[in-house]
């Protein structure tokens, strides 16, 4: 089965690897196919910020040589992949979508990316994203927005807009993104692809340019649930370079993926189906839930009573952590340094003013404010307390059900420029996704339908901590039901 995304025939990971092993396909051809797509479409879509043509073709040729020699191929041999530009790769630029890192060449490679390289993946280039992963539409990139391949007047979602669009447009078989408040799941929903939020600590954050250290996750995008599960299996696992990475063993995510959902208990929280949910999104998600019920699951209403406090909690905690993490961009060691500043303080102020975009400045200031003397208890400490209440909502729910089903985003992809004047309107796009980041749990967005105008709609499947296998199993069922 070739994936049916926008008429582009890219193979799945299995199909590609089987072909390479047999000699009916080559890694070099697969890479060239993606680069051709990029040459044809990316002037419009703008998913990529930099390309690794030579490096990719060299690596692809190495894989083909291994295959011809009859050697055992590593688990992602020859798979063409793109990497979100917040992950550093030695030999490729890293901008984090910001001018403050224009021209920066990192001296090391992120662990998650190194694992892909060691697994034989062919890295095509770095993907466009909202600046420092702050945004829900990829309109905050200092290098220009990404356009949704399904309708180029619309956003692909954010902050991993390039990662979602690249898979949707056949410019990569799989990509890596990052998710702090929904930045993998929401673009996956808007672009009609699969996006996975691993449990906090499941994938190393070493080499991820940090936004909010207690919320950030690295995760895969792919055209199918199986492909996403394969990529997660390669990048997951403890890393001594990340003190928050978990020792929890990594299971084989494919072992139970085809077992079906009969007998499972799936929770549906009414709080995620209230006001503000687009009727077409509601219809698509409810239809999918009905199909899952027919497939033998028990659909159980579960309340997550503190849901309405999630967005304000998130915007206090994420911005507070961001204000600390972005303090390092000061013109001293790397990145943009403002010229003609006679004092150190002046250099800091002007470099940061000149290098950071408006949304980043807004969040740094908000974060600094909520941490400052006199306001810390009222905002930051309060948000941390509400965070515990939100987490307890999930822990209680997962005592009753195996997974929770919700819409991923309140609407399908909106138009470029539609929400850029009102930061609050943009922040509310994250309403269904931020809860999982605050609670540390895992989840995925899987395509489940389309609007009448052909815009993709995703269903979000949330799992307990380290419950990715269950999420994939439900996701696989949804994918088969939507085929």
């Amino acid at each position: 089965m070739t994936t049916k995304v926008l008429e582009v025939e890219l193979p799945t990971i299995d199909e590609l690897m089987e072909g390479i092993a047999k000699g009916t396909k080559t890694a070099v051809e697969a890479a060239r196919l993606c680069f051709n797509r990029i040459d044809e479409e990316d002037a419009t879509i703008h998913a990529y910020l930099s390309l690794n043509r030579e490096g990719a073709l060299v690596r692809a040729a190495e894989i083909d040589a291994l295959a011809s020699a009859g050697e055992t191929l590593p688990p992602l041999a020859g798979v063409p992949m793109g990497i979100k530009d917040v992950l550093v790769v030695d030999g490729m630029p890293a901008t984090a979508g910001s001018k403050i890192l224009q021209g920066y060449q990192p001296p090391y490679t992120a662990t998650a990316v190194q694992r892909l390289i060691d697994a034989g993946a062919v890295l095509l280039g770095k993907l466009n994203c909202d600046e420092f992963a702050m945004g829900s539409s990829n309109e905050n990139s200092a290098y220009g927005p990404v356009r949704n391949p399904h309708d180029t007047d619309r956003v692909p979602g954010g902050s991993s807009g390039g990662s979602g669009a690249a898979v949707a447009a056949g410019m990569a078989v799989a990509t890596l993104g990052s998710d702090t408040g929904g930045s993998i799941r929401q673009p996956a929903s808007f672009c009609g692809v699969v996006g996975v939020l691993p449990t906090y600590g499941r994938v190393s954050r070493y080499g991820l340019i940090a936004f909010a250290s207690s919320l950030d996750r690295v995760g895969p995008f792919a055209a199918t649930v199986c492909d996403a599960a394969k990529v997660l299996g390669v990048i997951a696992g403890h890393d001594p370079m990340d003190a928050t990475s978990s020792m929890e063993p990594v299971p084989n995510y494919l072992a139970d993926i085809d077992k079906g959902v009969a007998g499972m208990r799936l929770g549906v929280p009414p709080e995620y189906f209230g006001e503000g949910l687009d009727p077409e999104v509601r219809a698509a998600v409810e239809a999918t839930i009905a199909q899952l019920k027919e497939a033998g699951t028990e659909i159980v209403p579960v309340s997550l009573p503190h849901t309405r406090y999630a967005v304000p909690t998130y915007y206090v905690i994420a911005t507070a952590e961001a204000s600390a993490n972005l303090a390092r961009f000061d013109g001293v060691r790397y990145g943009y340094r403002a010229p003609n500043t006679p004092t150190l303080a002046g250099m800091y102020h002007c470099s940061r003013e000149g290098g950071f975009g408006a949304e980043v400045k807004r969040r740094i200031l908000l974060g600094t404010y909520v941490l400052s003397a006199g306001y810390y208890d009222a905002y930051y400490k309060k948000a941390q307390q509400v965070r515990r209440l939100l987490t307890e909502d999930f822990l209680k729910a997962f005592d009753e059900v195996d997974a929770i089903l919700t819409p991923t985003a309140p609407t399908p992809a909106f138009r470029l420029g539609e929400k850029t004047d009102d930061p609050m309107a943009m922040y509310l796009a994250d309403i269904y996704t931020v809860t999982a980041n605050l609670a540390g749990i895992c989840g995925a967005s899987v395509p489940c339908g389309e609007s009448k105008s052909g815009l993709p709609i995703g269903i979000q499947i949330l799992g307990r901590h380290f419950g990715e296998s269950t999420v994939f199993r439900v996701g696989q069922a949804v994918e088969e039901l939507s085929a």
């Binding site: 001296p107 406090y309 001293v332 303080a345 102020h349 003013e353 948000a383 609050m424």
Partner: protein, 108 residues
């Protein structure tokens, strides 16, 4: 705190100073409007009684299983190699090869 205007222009300037970001005059105005809108929205957290709730800064206390000790994240205290100095200095805006060079530290 007054409902209508939590954040005054001087608050924005004070916070910008703390964050070491130089804002232009129009930026101060926009930022004041935006911060007020966002903080107004955030104020709804006060509807919740959290007097008996322990703050949660990280997920790790929830994630930690019985088998994983608190010191699992710590390694042996011995020196290991770090990044290659030449590679790091190659990315520096101004350097003599050993140190990062910056303007004089003089009070503004």
């Amino acid at each position: 705190m007054a409902e209508t205007e939590r954040v005054a222009a001087e608050d924005v300037r004070r916070v910008a100073e703390l964050a070491k970001v130089e804002l232009t005059a129009p930026e101060v105005v926009h930022m004041q409007r935006d911060l007020n809108a966002i903080l107004g929205y955030v104020a709804q957290l006060n509807e919740l009684d959290t007097s008996a709730v322990e703050p949660m800064a990280q997920v790790s206390d929830v994630l930690r299983r019985g088998t994983q000790s608190a010191t699992a994240a710590l390694r042996e205290d011995h020196a290991t190699s770090c990044l290659d100095r030449q590679r790091v200095m190659a990315a520096a805006p101004e350097t003599d090869g050993i140190f990062f060079k910056v303007p004089k530290v003089i009070e503004r």
